[in-house]
Symmetry: C2
Subunit: 641 residues, 2 copies
Amino acid sequence: MQFHHHGYVSQEPRVEPAAGIGLDRPEELPEEIDVLIVGSGPAGMITAAQLAQFPNVNTRIIERRGSRLELGQADGIQSRTVETFQAYGFAERIIAEAYRITETTFWNPDPDNPGHIIRTGRTADDATGISEFPHLVVNQARVLDYFAEFAERSPGRLVPDYGYEFVGLEVTDEGEYPVVVTLRRTVGEHEGEELTVRAKYVVGSDGASSKVRKSIGRRLKGDTSNHAWGVMDVLSETDYPDVRLKSIIHSDAGSILHIPREGGYLTRIYVDLGEVPEDDNHAVRNTPFEDIVKKLNEIIHPYTLEVKNVPWHSVYEVGHRVTDKFDDVPEDEVGTRSPRVFITGDACHTHSAKAGQGMNVSMQDGWNIAWKLGHVLTGRAPASLLDTYSAERQSVAVDLINFDKEWSTLMAKKSEDFDSPDEVAEFYVKTAEFPAGFMTEYSPSILTGEAKYQHLASGFPLGKRFKAAPVIRICDANPIYLGHQAFADGRYRIYVFADQAKAGEDSATERLAEWLGSDPESPLNKFTPVGEDVNSRFEVNVVYQQRYTEFDFSDVHPTFRPKNGPFQLQDYFRVHSIGDITDVNTAGEATSEEDIYDLRGVSRDGAIVIVRPDQYVANILPLDAREELTDFFAQSMTAQR
Amino acid sequence: MQFHHHGYVSQEPRVEPAAGIGLDRPEELPEEIDVLIVGSGPAGMITAAQLAQFPNVNTRIIERRGSRLELGQADGIQSRTVETFQAYGFAERIIAEAYRITETTFWNPDPDNPGHIIRTGRTADDATGISEFPHLVVNQARVLDYFAEFAERSPGRLVPDYGYEFVGLEVTDEGEYPVVVTLRRTVGEHEGEELTVRAKYVVGSDGASSKVRKSIGRRLKGDTSNHAWGVMDVLSETDYPDVRLKSIIHSDAGSILHIPREGGYLTRIYVDLGEVPEDDNHAVRNTPFEDIVKKLNEIIHPYTLEVKNVPWHSVYEVGHRVTDKFDDVPEDEVGTRSPRVFITGDACHTHSAKAGQGMNVSMQDGWNIAWKLGHVLTGRAPASLLDTYSAERQSVAVDLINFDKEWSTLMAKKSEDFDSPDEVAEFYVKTAEFPAGFMTEYSPSILTGEAKYQHLASGFPLGKRFKAAPVIRICDANPIYLGHQAFADGRYRIYVFADQAKAGEDSATERLAEWLGSDPESPLNKFTPVGEDVNSRFEVNVVYQQRYTEFDFSDVHPTFRPKNGPFQLQDYFRVHSIGDITDVNTAGEATSEEDIYDLRGVSRDGAIVIVRPDQYVANILPLDAREELTDFFAQSMTAQR
């Protein structure tokens, strides 16, 4: 965390100085809004949080409810999402609060006594060390709270506007605020009254029955039938031994997905209620709670579970569906006009809750569109950048639907139909990287380079998220993960992996630093307005191949320790070395003899790795790339000088 | 973190349900107060925070200032203190925010060019793995904020009363509230007005010039002369290479202690101004800031430091002094009456700031008296428990003064007088455990057992704090540190290290569990009131020698998974096993092949380790100790049945 450089911060340093709209943010919804976000679920809230980092963008987020979400809904948090929370500054707090999945157990009928279930397997949740971040379970409401806190503490001082329902919108071609949106107040003395606002852009994060989606004429397509689940958050007394472990239970009486929840007592239990007949007409939703508990007890026989308290329960039906495009521009008009309306999260894709994916994928949708809107609305990028949102995220959604179909089919399979009792466990382990959230891989585009130089950093696959790795920050000899310091501030990160020369010696690294800092054609100059700090749009980090004791901080080129802020103080945090890590967050990699070059396949001749504001690897280039570096950014950024 | 068991918690789970005084806490200072704390520094705030966990005790904390501390003062946080913060639930947040000391460098005159300093050594801050917690530097104001937050979120909903100055007190022998205290309002429309309150107990945490101390006739004794230091928090531009490392600089021009601060830019610099002549009459305090900066630049030559911004600076003089007793009962009256007034922190001991000790020792003073007052005022303990406060903490203060004298003498020594340039570095490494806060070792008393059974758990020295160690929590297969879950709730912890039998098999462990749960003479029954949960006064934890896969949670004796709360739900978090730790907070111990029995020298025949509410090891007993166990607690607890 970096602070005090704009003057001494006495109180909570997570509260940033207000700026722009945050200096005097009107409480009432204004008539003209830059970005109107509809719905304050995970997709909407991360969009708001990211845009609050752009205080010159007037963003509002409306919610039909009169106040914050209380309970229920999603609770699965992938490692990739915890990595995301790290960028929003609340990973360590939510980890301390959440349930942590370290193992999953599998229960099946006892072959000798098929009326009884027995534990047939257990598997580590992250057996292959996919991430240094844990896999968590926590009430969705808390995730929203943390994003709300971040948004309110950001320079834009954004807070949700509760009590507004989206009625409809029209995209006109008039003026600066071409989207005309009709809203209705849902609380207070003016309840029921409609009002009109005008927006530059609208983001629909309004769930599976999204009215924003309907207003742009898009539809969820896919399964014609639904599958039903009874779901409950319960406090219970039980002799089921794995009540505090994630467990997948198949018995002759049906199947259960059992998820322990935060706090050490609560559990979430999904009881499979089967395919819903086409003519059911939602009758399944009226299944009495007692029937679900009875079925649960049949499934876990010989164990019993007595419900003591039920904070929440529901019966829901869901099918596998996805929207064909996530904005308002038809495929054949792409390039002729820029999108004005976007949909995110459940508005784009619906599927089972079984793999704990929904909230996670939704948040990546939100982060993706948010920084792009921030860049376009602050003049950093041309509006064409917005075309990449649907292009990138729609194919992720298709992958999600396909994975979840496979997974939920397996979950719904009758135990007698399995080829082997380990079929579920094997699928679980084999596919672990997907549900952990790390299989997203964007295709080459204006934002993602071609694989020409992938060999210079093979462990940072282009289009996948930048996988952090241990280094030593040389200024204070602190062992850190390179990547964990990347704050969600909308900036690009340029990671320079030095060649074998020491800091200060003539080398490709030194020449790159000199060019980056001084040449008008370097991206740092070309895309940063005159008068702004050189690190205001790009954060340049360097990693040296020497141990940190082999050179001094003051040997490092000034480009890697830029001056910034009102006192023009050096940024000390951007210079790293390899080193022995004896004390880091997790033990796995920490004791390795390998350094970051080995761990991530980085060439000893050095490499440049460009990382987007949402942590995806944008490009890899050799240290002597000059034109290529500038040209790459020129595809998605607007020259400022 | 455990919650939801008293009903679903939708918002921040760190906010506990209000109880007792917290349900309807009067805003104005009442006339009768159970515990009046004077002064809201670190000693006072931890006292308040701990007492807020006893909502049936009416505690108030007054502060002369009209609002919270803004800046300045102490900033060194020992590992022992971070361990303490863990118990108060904010370790992970303050770690994320603070500067972390991993190394210290030593600078001395260049032998070939004595007018220039050179780096003569560097040492790891915790070279021997004293603690799994880091050594931090952070603004004292933030420490106070976190304790204030804890106090306000505790059942007692305690908040400081700003704007009251302590004038004087008298200990009468009248009534339930025998201490008559005169206060004066320092802010608001009644500024200057005096008022009288009556208290059962008063805790003076009012600093080196404590009026509470004076009111009980005690005096700081020790050095007759003072040493002066110029101290500054600065944002600067410098070519000094170790500006972000703790460094100790001796040059011909004087000496400096250089401490980086939180946020990556700020540094605290102590410039030695030498012994203060007896007739100085505080003239040294008028040393101009510019003179101190000039001296600083002379010391660090050939480097320079240009100050850009100065949030805080001061010149202070301090001597090594300690009060002979920390309460109002003269030595020769101990045992005839119980103390009513206590002093803590700087009111008891003053010394240099050089070893970063003051705030840390002060907090341990405060925690010590706080839980004891909580126990006495809730009828858990007889008033005689309060005699142990001064007995325990006064000798800690004497050790502190002696250590700091040695350390500050070394710091003040001229570089030409050193036997070797490494003299400072060697002392620093050799004595590391003391400044890390782990050398406190209480002598045998009603709270600390004799060493009779120390051999059963040699790695948990009696009277020293319980050193956490890695285990697996079996219910959820989470790798944790046994000890990190000990919340500052005023309860005793009983750690049962099982013998070699498995859970559920007939064994000394099983028989102990049975006795603990069922025998009226067991401490769990004898010292817990009828009608209260069996875990309301003692938290019993068990560690088994098997791996967690070798038995089921449901095999464990019910004493180790007690039912509690309105729904009488099982506590799942008290049962542990040895196990491979592949992913824990720090790497040091995590990769060890040793289990907790090896790491802490615990007998394979098992042992009982009793830990006080403030984390110190109170006693060690064999598994078959019955009478001894009850008798030990009977010395400091009151039978409830």
